[in-house]
Amino acid sequence: MNITRRHILILLPAAAVAWKSVLAGTPEDSPNYNMSEHWWGMLIDISKCIGCGNCVRACQTENDLPDGFFRTWVERYHRSDWHLENPEVISPDGGKEGFPSVQDDPGGEYFFVPKMCNHCADSPCTQVCPVGATFISPDGVVLIDQTYCMGCAYCVQACPYGCRYIHPTKKVADKCTLCYHRITKGLTTACCEACPTGTRQLADLKNPKDPIHEFLKTHKVQVLKPQLATGAKAFYNDLDGSVR
């Protein structure tokens, strides 16, 4: 094919536009990482969580997060026998520094619930983004191209789990990336690495050797708000019915 000056005039701007997208979808410096071989999720074993807040601190440090906004946080539930549908929940500063001790035990059950983006396979946030700045990567991680996001906050409204916020200085949507910069290099997420009890475990559903498969077979695992059919991939073991 002969490339004429007219072709160049058409192709150059097209290439310039396409290059932006190519760059946005490229895993950072991970030449051996093949996105199509993975489908990431997270296993969260509530029975193991001690509410130490290590995961929250690790996430804040790893991702340089602004004060008062959280990519992950820990809630402490108190479910009394008489108020199954209305538990008392606290999460002081996202549970970053742990929780106050219970002085006079009023009875009922106390437990901790770590929260994060559920990286939904049918994510409502991705659906509503007017420019497609937020997207599901081929390996199942819900990401945001912050150079493209215009900060309308529609995705924040659409997330049923409260996992998104508008970054106060960048003025764009922000949320858990499942430490995409780490997992594409063969590492686990910062929160998983910092968890002293193994409450959080990164799971690759496409990897047949991943222990998640055995775990899912042998445990009663649920997702949050299953009635919303978001295809959530944060799998909770020992999830109490009162958890929202």
Binding site: W73, P87, V128, G132, A133, C152, A153, V156, Q157, I166
Partner: protein, 387 residues
């Protein structure tokens, strides 16, 4: 804040500017529907408001995207919605619906309707104004009988297309809220329909009030038959709007799903004034009763006009309160249904009260300019030039 909010929910992400956005687009849609009464449905009595309704719709439409732009974290990226729209996003439609309505419907209809006057004014006026009118003719200066007949026919077709377009413009705004399954306050198939009918009522009320105010200012008599007819349509549409809102309310109360406790709490506390007092009693029931009286009791002309003016004002407040209760109310409770937050409007922040006030007054300035350029009344310079 009370109870438990997810940590990222404490801040409200949609402010008073997002309240203005559906309010302003609603006024546009409603004003256009009023114009279509005369043009398509041949309700001759409302003719004095026809052109005013079109210009009002245009003035508000020009301002409609501004609250969104002020709200965006990166307004300089808003053009991405036009060039790379996300096909599954309801919001991505905004640019196209807006442009379609602005260019293909409203501008075109106003141009067709005023073309004769524009051509005559481009010949009779002087200086810069002459140039402005020359540009507005778009080079089409044939005002022969046949050309004007074609204008009339095409204008009728444009208005016909404009009615579903007006529904689309505002129904789509309602869909933005109604389609979010994350928020039970918004998520309802009735939301877009309620938005459309409340939009029609507010737009008709706005045009009626503007007509009455301008006519007073011009020291001309208010056409009683015209305002009687406008008020009658406003009353009937308001009944439909009220019925739909009540249907939604009764359905929520009777169904009483998991979100009901939260929503019920809000209606009795944080939204008590704006929803129960302002929107329902003062803004809906009171004008409905007064307008009903004008339909069944033989009232004097002056009494009827005062009732129309008062009811129109209350309707505008009511519809604004409704938008407030939807947009702000929908963010005051946690998606965990376990807690509530508060909203404090800033005064001079970029999404604050002053900006909001400016944006609600700006359409009136645009309307003033449009009225100067394209006077809708018969003794205007244009008509004088035509004669």
């Amino acid at each position: 804040m009370s109870g438990y909010m997810y940590p990222n929910e404490i801040t409200l992400y949609w402010s008073v500017l997002i309240v203005l956005y559906p309010y302003i687009t609603g006024l546009v849609a409603g004003a256009f529907i009023l114009a279509s009464l005369e043009r398509v449905f041949r309700v001759e009595a409302v003719k004095p408001t026809y052109r005013l309704a079109l210009l009002t719709a245009m003035a508000f439409l020009l301002v409609a995207p501004l609250p969104l732009l002020f709200h965006l974290g990166h307004p300089e990226r808003s053009w991405e919605m036009y060039f790379t729209p996300h096909s599954t996003s309801a919001m991505a439609m905004f640019g196209y619906v807006y442009l379609w309505y602005l260019m293909a419907v409203l501008s075109f209809e106003i141009w067709l309707d005023y073309r004769r006057e524009i051509v005559l004014l481009s010949q009779s006026s002087k200086g810069l104004l002459r140039l402005v009118y020359k540009i507005m003719t778009l080079g089409s200066t044939n005002i022969g009988e046949r050309a004007l007949h074609i204008d009339e026919r095409v204008g009728w077709i444009v208005t016909l297309i404009g009615i579903p377009s007006a529904f689309l413009l505002h129904g789509y705004v309602g869909f933005i809220f109604g389609s979010l399954k994350s928020n039970p306050w918004w998520s309802s198939p009735l939301t877009p329909v309620v938005f459309i009918f409340s939009a029609m009522v507010s737009g008709i009320a706005a045009v009626m009030l503007i007509y009455m105010a301008i006519t007073k200012l011009r020291r001309q008599p208010i056409d009683t038959r015209c305002v009687d007819t406008v008020a009658m349509y406003m009353f009937y549409i308001f009944i439909i709007d009220f019925s739909l809102e009540m249907l939604d309310l009764v359905h929520r109360i009777y169904e009483a799903d998991e979100s009901f406790r939260s929503l019920n709490f809000m209606a009795h506390t944080k939204l008590f004034f704006s929803q129960i007092v302002l929107q329902m009693f003062l803004g809906t029931l009171l004008p409905l009763i007064l307008l009903f009286l004008t339909q069944i009791v033989q009232l004097s002309e002056i009494a009827r006009k005062r009732i129309y003016a008062f009811s129109g004002c209350m309707i505008l407040i009511s519809v604004f309160a409704m938008r407030w209760n939807v947009v702000i109310g929908g963010q005051l409770f946690s998606k965990s249904f376990l807690g509530y937050t508060t909203y404090k409007v800033g005064l001079v922040t970029h999404e604050g009260l002053l900006v909001a006030l400016g944006l609600i007054l700006l359409p009136l300035f645009f309307l003033w300019v449009l009225l100067k350029l394209l006077p809708p009344w018969s003794e205007s310079g244009a008509s004088a030039a035509a004669d």
